[in-house]
Symmetry: C2
Subunit: 127 residues, 2 copies
Amino acid sequence: MGTKQLNGSAADEADLTRADSLGREIFSDIANKWALLIIESLGDGTLRFSEVRNAVQGISHKMLTQNLRMLERNGLVDRTVHPTVPPRVEYTLTEPGQALRATVDGMCDWTHRYVGHIEASRHRFDS
Amino acid sequence: MGTKQLNGSAADEADLTRADSLGREIFSDIANKWALLIIESLGDGTLRFSEVRNAVQGISHKMLTQNLRMLERNGLVDRTVHPTVPPRVEYTLTEPGQALRATVDGMCDWTHRYVGHIEASRHRFDS
């Protein structure tokens, strides 16, 4: 979210400042482990609520509900209700959600790549 | 953090399970907005505590201290104390920290790219 310097009009500057502030707000919404793990879980296709919950180990019903709603509100996840009895509710990544998933994949790859380094560093730090 | 299936020895499987559990733990540590914004702020070079605090708008002294300590423990940030009066304390990304920064950059780019889409989606959702 670097600060942008420009010599444009006051309107341009106001737009940029607003976009920057909104950008920070969005970053705050999505940069939490539950949101990112939900996005990762939906990376391979549509899932029902209970399937997301199984995929994201350790998440509570409440946190999953809150985060799915936040992701839906931000347009990263589509929620579809099928009129069966009981209703079947499914979640799918939108195109922006898929794009975010690519960066989450990068973070997961990073974790796997450096797990040994991190473990060694923790041992040094704790002793 | 996908589950890995393999036909290796029991020792291999135990190692993988352990790495996976540790990986999840590491992901939980770093996948929070403060940690990621601190890493982003250190992307361009060494900073003092007060400089990180200025760069990461809105972070409290306590959260900054906790997150820098967590990042140091995980070997993502080096902390150097210069023996001046008062001591000068500086923070620098390690090589794994730099690698993580690349994925955080991707997340910031994503935010800027989709800010319009997200804003429109929020308006629809809220109305």
